[in-house]
């Protein structure tokens, strides 16, 4: 469709040809379109439809597209658009934000509120429009997504952009029935991007929480002695991210780090109260459970039980005769505690 037009900044501004206006009007919403090139050089827009989805491939010289409050008053706009910049740079302004659009970046456009799209140079842009109600829940939160260029090769956008580009190539070649299905597939993909950007997907659902939290706790218990046990290790073992792990525990009244610490202290306490013929020293027990610094262990222990380890041990086993050889060092440590 069309050739790339040269930037004719010397040319005059003129209202875009009827075909272009109509294309935008029907596919997205009534807008004012101004092109800084002579109308005779502007080729017709390439429009394809897939079910209720419309794809508009725009290739032109410097242009400005604006939707004003007057446009909105005349027709509110039942469709929503995703604009994918393919060449040239643009500036899109909506909802008080301005986004510079580079090739390979996309932006959500909501015609319910005013916006301007300023293509500074010759450009190519793919616009995908869909009925607002097909988007479902994200449609009510678009004001959080507008005016922001979405880029990158990671996340849903890294999957969606190549998909949209391929879609625009095959759209004219599929049957209407296939088009109907692809329209639905594409809307779901766009809604998924919206949900990801809105942070919706990061909320662990209750069912997952109910399953994963006990498993994480169990994993912690089984690996307490491992000095490398950390949120990073736990997350990796469960194929989740550290951030997700922390979110899981938000409802648990503790953090993963604190939980590990507390469980270790508890296990130490259990060992310290065992009545054995040769009870190990506090420092031995502590080291066994991953505490290398006596001061750190003492602090942690106090945090859980309200008193230092030795005091706790004595309180639990007042009659027990602790082995002799340890005592002089114990006395020294007691001073530290």
């Amino acid at each position: 469709m069309g050739q790339v037009l040269r930037d004719m900044t010397a040319g005059q501004e003129c209202e875009a040809p009827r075909l272009w206006q109509d294309a935008f009007d029907s596919l997205i919403a009534p807008v004012r379109l101004v092109m800084r090139t002579s109308p005779v050089d502007v080729p017709p827009p390439a429009i394809t439809h897939l079910g209720y989805l419309s794809l508009l491939l725009v290739e032109a010289g410097p242009s400005q597209l604006s939707r004003t409050p007057r446009h909105i008053a005349r027709s509110p706009g039942e469709r929503v658009a995703v604009a994918l910049q393919q060449s040239g740079t643009a500036l899109l302004t909506q909802d008080g934000r301005s986004a510079g659009l580079e090739p390979g970046e996309l932006v959500f456009v909501d015609p319910r509120r005013p916006f301007t799209l300023d293509q500074r140079e010759s450009f190519r842009m793919l616009l995908v429009s869909l009925p607002r109600q097909t988007l479902g829940d994200p449609a009510d939160h678009l004001f959080r997504l507008t005016g922001r260029a979405v880029q990158g090769r990671s996340g849903v956008v890294g999957l969606l952009i190549p998909y949209l580009e391929r879609l625009s190539l095959l759209a004219g070649q599929v049957t209407p029935a296939t088009g109907d299905l692809l329209a639905g597939n594409t809307v779901e993909f766009i809604a998924l991007l919206a949900d990801e950007l809105l942070g919706r997907d990061q909320e662990p659902p209750a069912t997952t929480r109910a399953r994963l939290v006990p498993r994480v706790r169990d994993y912690i218990d089984r690996n307490l002695r491992d000095p490398d046990l950390s949120p990073e290790r736990i997350a990796e073992a469960h194929y989740i991210s550290v951030r997700y792990l922390h979110r899981l525990f938000e409802g648990e009244g503790t953090t993963v780090g604190r939980l590990i610490l507390r469980r270790r202290v508890e296990e130490c306490a259990r060992e310290l109260t065992r009545r054995e013929r040769s009870s190990p020293t506090v420092s031995t027990v502590a080291r066994r459970w991953g505490f290398h610094s006596p001061a750190h262990f003492s602090r942690a222990f106090k945090g859980v039980f309200g008193m230092p380890p030795r005091q706790w041990r004595r309180a639990r086993a007042p009659e027990e005769d602790l082995p002799g050889p340890e005592r002089p060092r114990d006395a020294q440590r007691a001073a530290v505690n």
Partner: protein, 333 residues
């Protein structure tokens, strides 16, 4: 010898991280999975299905794609080649890829593909050209999802996101089957003139954009297009059936799409009401007649499930063992 379970150290040259294999949870309905078969044999031939065909519950529709190069597919004496293979676990195929390439396999439980067996017979057991049509959309997505870290970043295990992406792949598989079924069913153009064809396309688009509208009746549609109801009916007779039936089918498809977004929050009652069904019971009947399951069953199939575990509890070890076998070369070669 095949190693017991996929691990990150097994990744071949074109896999960036551990393959994503979700163990089966016996208590939940079967769901969409992606497995990766490492490509270490120069003359690798993979037999699909990768699970015993005598397990009726395990029937799956699969798409197999090579991480690089092409594929050929042998089925009932016929060999086809292309960019991806569509297969039905009830009718095994042998797939050979470019030497050394790992294969990504998308596995969708049969009940989630809403087409009858005769359609599946016509469309599965062969390779497809992945440079055009729905195949050209599905293959890149499958390959991205199969390389576990994928472009969506190292945060594998963000349940909702992963599940929805898997569902996205399953939906494209369904569209691929539909596309091919239609191609088989009506190879020639209909009897409509070009002008009539354009009129039909325009009306379809108009109706498609207004599906939830209860005023969408033949007289209103005809009026909006400045034609008589009789002409409208004439335009819509033929292989597509009547206009009203088509509208009903499109509405059901949209209901299925809405419920299929998962998350467990969509209420069947609310969907039925919004789409103009007299009662939820009536909606469920229509849905079940078309899709072979109730709306809530469908919704539950599409909802988040758990991520893989590092140390699965004993009752799933067997399953994991079997799953591992599925990803390993089969013994006979």
């Amino acid at each position: 010898m095949p190693s017991p379970a996929p691990s990150r150290h097994e990744a071949g040259p074109h896999l960036s991280a551990r393959p994503v294999v979700h163990p089966v949870d016996p208590g939940r309905p079967p769901y969409v999975r992606i497995s990766v078969v490492p490509g270490d044999e120069p003359t690798r031939a993979l037999t699909l299905p990768m699970r015993p065909a005598d397990d009726p519950d395990a029937r799956e529709i699969m798409v197999c794609g090579p991480l690089r190069g092409g594929l050929s597919c042998a089925h009932e004496g016929r060999v086809t080649s292309g960019g991806l293979v569509l297969a039905d676990s009830a009718r095994p195929v042998t797939v050979s890829g470019t030497a050394g390439s790992a294969l990504a396999v998308l596995r969708v439980p049969r009940p989630l593909v809403p087409y009858p067996d005769d359609v599946l017979v016509r469309t599965t057991g062969r390779a497809y050209d992945a440079t055009t049509g729905v195949a050209s959309l599905l293959l890149p997505l499958l390959l991205s999802l199969a390389t576990a870290e994928g472009p969506w970043g190292a945060e594998a295990g963000r349940d909702g996101l992963t599940t929805r992406l898997m569902n996205q792949a399953a939906d494209l598989l369904t569209s691929l089957v539909a596309e091919e079924a239609e191609r088989n069913a009506c190879p020639g153009a209909s009897g409509l003139s070009d002008a009539d064809r354009r009129a039909v396309d325009e009306i379809r688009r108009w109706v498609n954009s207004r599906l939830p509208d209860p005023r969408l009746r033949p007289d209103a549609i005809a009026e909006a297009h400045h034609i008589s109801v009789r002409r409208l009916y004439k335009l819509f007779t033929g292989e597509n059936g009547t206009l009203s039936r088509w509208i009903q089918q499109r509405r059901l498809e949209e209901c299925r799409r809405e419920l299929g977004r998962g998350g467990g929050t969509a209420k069947v009652q609310a969907v039925a009401q919004r789409w103009g069904f007299a009662t939820a019971a009536h909606f469920s009947r229509c849905f079940r007649a078309r899709y072979g399951m109730s709306p809530s069953e469908w919704r539950d199939h599409r909802t988040e499930h758990d991520t893989a575990e590092a140390t699965p509890p004993p009752d799933t070890l067997q399953e994991t063992g079997r799953a591992a076998h599925l990803c390993a070369p089969s013994a006979h070669w």
